[in-house]
């Protein structure tokens, strides 16, 4: 299939269309509001479900298959924030704090984008390794730590490192992903079976509801697009393509299947908007949240959802 055809297919999925509906709802100033509690509940669900399935798959994975992709993911987590930081400082001329904050977001990962690429591949019936969810967890934290270290060094600050690290690891997205994985690993596929009518079958539907809300959240950030300027818009589209290609390449080196490499590329291309904003807001308060939230939510996320995912799939063809 042509990339253009894949994009079309992807755009016409209920998930992407629900996101569009959310954007429209905000633009026409609808009184539609998702209660915050429901948003929280849906995100708890998504993270736990991703973890559970990943864990149950991992319980049947041999360590020999797993170590190379895990290592490559770690490399991604360390290198991508450094590259992003340099680009943002040199080419974008951003302040240290703002550049480090953005680097943390783009080095880390978006669990919802992971869910979207899974759904995309399943619709095309392209197989990928079951343990990819584990890589989401591995990719989430290191980039944030690396970016914060860069900022500390550049700004010469000291500060309460232990506390920041604890908050990061006990943060809800890591806790739910790792916790779910741990449950899935111990309970195994038989255990997952018992709760499949909640954590497996409705996954895409719940994701659709979540994306409706995400569309509203992202659209509220559109107003800030002018404020962040052209450079950041370009960064929010090009950086993911670079990181995505890099991720696919590392995936192919690690011996992942083509589907697995597409997932790893998408993970690399995605920008965090749960774990990273929370950590950055506390540890780097002087960084302007308009920059990192708008870039991650209003530029990179919709780009990946609509165009990035089929694009990475197309790009993977060059490595396989």
């Amino acid at each position: 299939m042509e990339i253009i055809e894949l994009v079309r297919l992807n755009l016409f999925s209920p998930m992407v269309l629900a996101f569009v509906l959310g954007v429209v709802a905000t633009l026409v100033r609808s009184d539609l509001k998702f209660p915050d509690e429901i948003y929280t509940a849906l995100s708890i669900y998504l993270l736990l479900a991703i973890g559970l399935k990943g864990g149950a798959e991992l319980s049947e994975t041999a360590l020999t298959e797993f170590w190379a992709p895990a290592l490559m993911t770690l490399i991604l987590g360390v290198t991508t924030p450094i590259v992003a930081y340099v680009v943002l400082r040199r080419l974008g001329g951003l302040e240290v704090a703002d550049a480090a904050a953005l680097a943390a977001h783009y080095g880390s990962v978006s669990a919802v984008t992971f869910a979207a690429v899974q759904t995309f591949l399943q619709a095309l019936e392209i197989p990928y390794e079951g343990f990819m969810a584990t890589l989401v967890a591995i990719l989430e934290v290191p980039a944030i730590i690396v970016a914060l270290i860069i900022a500390r060094v550049a700004l010469g600050q000291g500060g309460n490192w232990g506390e920041v690290l604890r908050e990061l690891l006990a943060g809800k997205s890591i806790l739910l992903l790792l916790g779910g994985m741990f449950i899935g690993l111990i309970a195994g596929k038989a255990g997952l079976e018992q709760v499949a009518p909640v954590f497996v079958d409705p996954f895409k539907g719940i994701l659709t509801l979540f994306l409706l809300e995400m569309g509203m959240v992202a659209a509220r950030r559109f107003r800030d697009l002018r404020r962040v300027g052209f450079f950041l818009i370009a960064f929010g589209i090009l950086m993911p393509i670079v990181n995505g290609t890099f991720g696919i390449w590392l995936g192919s080196l690690a011996g992942l299947s083509q589907g697995g490499a597409v997932v790893l590329g998408t993970l690399a291309a995605s920008a965090s908007y749960i774990a990273a904003p929370a950590a950055v807001r506390i540890a780097l308060p002087q960084a302007n949240p308009s920059y990192y939230l708008t870039a991650a939510l209003a530029i990179t996320f919709p780009f990946n959802l609509a165009i990035g995912i089929p694009l990475y799939y197309g790009l993977a063809g060059f490595f396989y």
Binding site: D36, D224, A278, R281, S290
Partner: protein, 101 residues
């Protein structure tokens, strides 16, 4: 019944700061506090920062006059520069003032 005039200090700030603020208020010496989650608003800083966590919280604490001033000064010093936050105090009358002082 004996009524005493205290100060009701109110802080409205980003939801992400709730736990930390409460910890610090206790260190400053408050004996109690009440949090109203899920408030929303706008000020001079623009959009609330982190949508994921609900938007803002209101933290209220009944304290003596001196501690009220200390809390306001503390918030000003530590949060005004970088966070979306306001703090104000009202005059309140309570019974059992020893509970708050």
């Amino acid at each position: 019944m004996q009524k005493t005039r205290l100060k009701l200090v109110t802080i409205i700030t980003e939801a992400i700061l709730e736990d930390r603020m409460v910890r610090e208020l206790k260190q400053l010496g408050v004996r109690g506090y009440t949090v109203t989650g899920e408030v929303r608003g706008e000020g001079t800083r623009g959009l609330p920062t982190v949508d994921f966590d609900g938007q803002s919280v209101r933290i209220e604490t009944l304290v003596g006059h001196e501690l009220a001033d200390q809390i306001m000064a503390y918030v000003a010093e530590n949060y005004f520069a970088d966070y979306a936050v306001i703090v104000y105090s009202l005059d309140a009358e309570v019974l059992r003032s020893e509970k708050y002082l």
